[in-house]
């Protein structure tokens, strides 16, 4: 049993560089376990002899996604473990990344990555003493890997990530974010490997040490590589490497070793520190949630956006029922722009498969929005689905004082390291007094502890009742906040509940928010699009001395006139539109709704469409084709027209509107969708309904959508010559399925001849041409 966390433990050094020294640099390293076991064993033996306590198997690339060679994974894994075992030390299986990028950047799914690592765990069952997960640069892949090892193996897991000179991973995670995730997933030690030399890694090491109380692993490269004669060369001396390692040990690092370029001689030098007592560190743990790139600490009032909760929101409810994730994404991004720090996400609509919708909603929102999420459901299965596929450390909403509820939710929070929000109520409802609510809060915190969840992973909501029904209890809620803070937990409140049933609700909400913040509210759950509410938070941060020198406040409200505080960040200065035509012509989206209303006061809806909107768009289209207007302006006009159409649409009888449906997709294999998105905006602006299937869309999905929607036209987009093939297959599939809709194709590599050759009906060079041909088709119908 190694004295992990108590005394310094030594791991081994570089393996690839050792193979190169042995003249085996061109082989697939993992295959050498079978083809040259004696060479592999010699390296392990050299490291063991140099003083390594843990020998890492020669298995870095052994997973089914990365390794595509001729040997069976099982045979290679067994040989790798046995070769390492021959050194007579503790053996850790080396688990490296798949080398593939996860969606949405790449195409690998979370489930595929998970399955590959679950297989690694199964293949090595009983063969090794632990796992070292290393050189990961994508938080999501790291999560899939550690989760798989935790679920399929019962041995210690060390996990280390790589950081570049910006002190972030390749996908933008900071050391603190990596710490939150790995600690939450229950690894035995965490840290950094590879990346850079020890000197460059020193700031990362410092930040890891101050963020986690787990043992920290540091395995740097032998300095920064230099290119000499086309070859990578490392030239940091053993003395310097040892000097830096000693500094790390002194600062509190528990597990030391080396990565690229380090040799047994380096390990022999640092083995001098073996057995040293690891100095204790006082790490102040804070309540924090993270996304892949943002960490939000629950202090100084953090705004949780409430608009992704369908309760009382008809449009969102409908969007969830038809699984229109684009609607959710837009709502998420609006809240992000308005100043939310994290977002509540609830998919609870009767009659849907809530866990499945929650999972897809989480994936869709995190693809676009950088904010951490609060996974909100009364269904434990939906919570687990959301939390599992979430890329970061989420907040779970919620448990309450009922034992059964805690028994369902706490194990999920514990397993994934989520922060959990506890409501101060139980089977008897919401207690009347602050003292009683405090008692429930204390019970929740204590029960959480019994499940292994520390107080900093718990937040408490002291519950807001409406002032109209329970006027006296408003102050109890506020008093309870202050009491709950003594438990060392952060607090939350659904602020706007206070004003139900009373007039001028914003006034009550804002005043209540101010009362609550002054009494210790850390996270109001509220509508960030309400500029006065968001403004109250910014103002509070000034008055409470948090926003030093009022810098944030001034930055945000410098241009605010008098009491009029708008939710939207300052609009760009442009002279206001003269009328709707001018508004669309100049692409002034913000003015479009008001201008449309003004126009509707004097004209019939269809006249507004025909005489104003269509004419303005025609002028813009013509100017664009003449090269007098450019793409961003064309799109801005289309956006303004779309906003106008939305207003007109509410006045049209159903039969007037709906000029027809168009199905759009970027074909399989192609992830360039900007052209397709331009076509979408412009087409919608002309009053057509667009069903957008997204990018990298397989033929079958296009066929299914066409059969369901019976569209006027199908638009397929491709950017690369390689994906024109896929476009051709899609068209063939559509024809085979009896699709009669006109098929349009477009994209950089297409032209009229290619379009004809692959069986398309129309080729259009740009969005305005697309709409022009579409208009002709619609007129014929």
């Amino acid at each position: 049993m190694l004295p992990l966390g108590k005394q310094v433990i030594v791991m081994d050094g570089g393996f690839g560089s050792e193979l190169e020294r042995a003249g085996l640099g061109d082989a697939v390293p993992e295959e050498l376990n079978l083809t040259r076991p004696e060479a592999v064993r010699a390296i392990h033996a050299a490291y063991a002899e140099a003083g390594a306590d843990i020998i890492t198997a020669n298995s870095f690339g052994l997973n089914r996604i990365k390794y595509r060679g001729r040997y069976a994974l099982a045979d290679l894994a067994r040989a790798a473990a046995e070769n390492a075992r021959s050194a007579g030390k503790t053996v850790f299986f080396d688990v490296g990344p798949t080398g593939a990028l996860l969606a949405p950047v790449g195409t690998l799914t979370f489930d595929e990555a998970y399955a590959a690592y679950a297989e690694v765990a199964e293949l090595t069952r009983g063969l090794v003493d632990g796992y070292i997960v290393e050189t990961f640069s994508d938080l999501y892949e790291l999560k899939a890997c550690v989760l798989a090892l935790k679920e399929h193996a019962d041995k210690p897991v060390f996990a280390t990530a790589t950081f570049d000179k910006t002190l972030r991973t390749l996908t933008g995670s900071t050391p603190e974010i990596v710490c939150e995730l790995l600690e939450g997933l229950g690894v035995d030690a965490l840290g950094v490997n590879c990346s850079l030399g020890p000197e460059e890694l020193a700031p990362v090491v410092e930040r890891l040490l101050s963020s986690t109380d787990l043992p920290v692993v540091v395995q740097p490269n032998r300095g920064l590589p230099k290119l000499v004669g086309g070859k990578t060369v490392y030239d940091l001396s053993e003395d310097e490497f040892a000097l830096w390692t000693e500094r790390f040990v002194h600062a509190g690092v528990s597990v030391i070793g080396g990565c690229c370029g380090t040799t047994p001689a380096f390990i022999r030098r640092i083995a001098a520190f073996k057995g040293r007592t690891v100095p204790p560190r006082a790490v102040q743990k804070k309540t924090a949630v993270t996304s892949q790139t943002r960490r939000v600490v629950m202090e100084n009032v953090r705004i949780c956006g409430e608009r992704l909760n369908p309760t009382g929101k008809k449009a969102l409810k409908e969007a969830l029922m038809r699984e229109d994730y684009g609607y959710l994404v837009a709502e998420a991004l609006r809240q992000e722009d308005a100043g939310a720090d994290l977002l509540d996400l609830n998919a609870g609509v009767p009659g849907i498969d809530e866990p499945a919708v929650m999972r897809r909603a989480v994936c869709a929102v995190q693809e676009y929005c950088e904010l951490p999420l609060q996974i909100d459901s009364s269904d434990a299965a939906a919570i687990e689905a959301g939390v599992r596929y979430y890329n970061g450390v989420p907040l779970i909403n919620s448990v309450n004082g009922e034992e059964e509820v805690m028994a369902r939710i706490f194990p999920i929070a514990k397993k994934y390291g989520a922060v959990v929000l506890g409501l101060t109520m139980d089977g008897r409802g919401v207690p009347r007094t602050a003292q009683e609510r405090f008692a429930i809060a204390r019970r929740i915190v204590e029960r959480a502890k019994a499940y292994g969840i520390p107080a900093h992973k718990v937040m408490i909501d002291t519950l807001v009742l409406t002032a109209s029904a329970e006027q006296d209890l408003v102050s109890e809620t506020v008093r309870a906040l202050a009491l709950v803070k003594t438990l060392g937990v952060a607090t939350a409140l659904g602020v706007s509940n206070v004003s139900f049933g009373l007039p001028a609700r914003p006034l009550l909400n804002k005043t209540f928010l101010a009362m609550a913040m002054a009494n210790g509210l850390d996270m109001p759950i509220m509508n960030p699009l309400d500029g006065e509410m968001t403004g109250a938070v910014y103002a509070y941060r000034v008055l409470a001395g948090i926003d030093r020198g009022a810098a944030d406040y001034i930055g945000r409200y410098r241009d605010a006139a008098g009491a009029a505080v708008s939710a939207a960040p300052k609009r760009e200065s442009a002279s206001p539109a003269k009328d709707l035509y001018d508004c669309v012509r100049r692409g002034l989206r913000e003015d479009a709704a008001a201008m449309t209303e003004a126009e509707l006061a004097v004209r019939a809806p269809l006249e507004v469409v025909g005489d104003v909107l269509v004419k303005a768009l025609e002028e813009v289209g013509a100017l664009y084709e003449q090269g007098k207007l450019f793409l961003p302006q064309l799109i801005a006009s289309a956006e303004a027209a779309k906003a106008a159409f939305a207003v007109v649409g509410t006045r049209l009888h159903k039969t007037d509107g709906g000029r027809g449906t168009v199905v759009l997709a970027t074909v399989r294999g192609d992830v360039h969708d900007i052209g397709k998105n331009i076509v979408k905006v412009v087409t919608e602006s002309h009053g057509f309904t667009v069903v957008d299937l997204g990018k990298d869309v397989p033929c079958e999905r296009v066929v299914a959508a066409v059969q369901k929607e019976r569209p006027l036209a199908v638009g397929l987009s491709a950017l690369m010559t390689t994906t024109v093939k896929s476009m051709e297959q899609t068209i063939a599939a559509l024809r085979a399925a009896g699709c009669t809709a006109a098929v349009f194709v477009g994209g950089a590599v297409l032209n009229r001849e290619t379009a004809r050759a692959i069986g398309a009906d129309h080729y259009t060079a740009n969005a305005s041409e697309f709409v022009r041909v579409l208009e002709e088709l619609a007129a014929k119908k």
């Binding site: 990344p97 080398g99 593939a100 990028l101 949405p104 950047v105 790449g106 195409t107 640069s137 994508d138 570049d164 910006t166 972030r168 390749l170 996908t171 933008g172 290119l227 086309g230 790139t293 684009g326 994404v329 837009a330 991004l333 609006r334 992000e336 722009d337 693809e367 676009y368 929005c369 950088e370 692409g587 090269g627 450019f630 793409l631 961003p632 302006q633 799109i635 289309a638 956006e639 399989r668 294999g669 192609d670 992830v671 360039h672 969708d673 900007i674 998105n677 331009i678 905006v681 990298d696 950017l719 690369m720 010559t721 390689t722 994906t723 896929s726 950089a748 590599v749 032209n751 060079a765």
Partner: protein, 204 residues
């Protein structure tokens, strides 16, 4: 980095001919700042003397004629800027296309600057797809340079991820500037038909 060249290039991607109009530059300026703050340029390269098998065909042979050596290069701006473009596509599509153009211009300019390490006597970066060469040759460059460690990947479709990534060949020992003839869009390029080029900034 020559900032006006960068702006010109972004504007050219957005369809500007000649001197970009003020109206367009006003839209490009804030997006270029944003692109610079989101971009995390990473690149790798390796020099060779003997041509690798995939380079022993046209148009590479002509391209590298007279060069003493050559380098394979890969570069990317990373995935964060992709995500921002994606988000803007939803909230502000007009800005999304501008940021997209700025990012494309930025990776080209950063790449040109980074390639200065191969000496002043060098060619421009010739990427698979130019001059009728197969885009699938990118796979050979990936096999040599293993840019996975830069967070790059070759997708099954032959595209690179993140989106603002490039892979190419730089000839060493001979100067050579870009021309339309080598471009994959040669036949169908609207700009060329109108007598303009998209690469003015590169031929300095």
């Amino acid at each position: 980095m020559n900032s006006s060249a960068l702006y010109d290039r972004a504007c050219a991607y957005l369809g500007a001919r000649g001197v970009p109009p003020e109206e367009l530059l006003e839209r490009v300026a804030p997006c270029m700042d944003e692109a610079r703050s989101l971009a995390r340029f990473r690149a790798a390269g390796r020099t060779y003397e003997a041509p690798l098998p995939f380079l022993q065909k046209e148009p590479y042979v002509s391209f590298l004629a007279g060069c003493a050596a050559y380098a394979l290069v890969v570069m990317t701006l990373g995935g964060e800027i992709d995500r921002r473009i994606r988000a803007l596509t939803v909230t502000d599509p007009s800005r999304a296309v501008v940021l997209d153009a700025c990012a494309s211009a930025l990776v080209e300019e950063e790449g040109d600057e980074w390639e200065a390490r191969f000496g002043a006597e060098r060619t421009y970066r010739f990427c698979p797809g130019y001059g009728g060469s197969p885009v699938s040759d990118v796979a050979h460059i990936f096999r040599e340079l293993r840019p996975e460690r830069l967070g790059m990947q070759l997708l099954p479709s032959g595209l690179m991820a993140p989106q603002k990534s490039m892979a190419g060949v730089v000839g060493i020992g001979r100067r050579r500037e870009r021309s339309c003839g080598a471009c994959m869009l040669y036949e169908h390029c609207a700009a060329r038909r109108e007598g303009r080029v998209c690469y003015r900034s590169e031929n300095k």
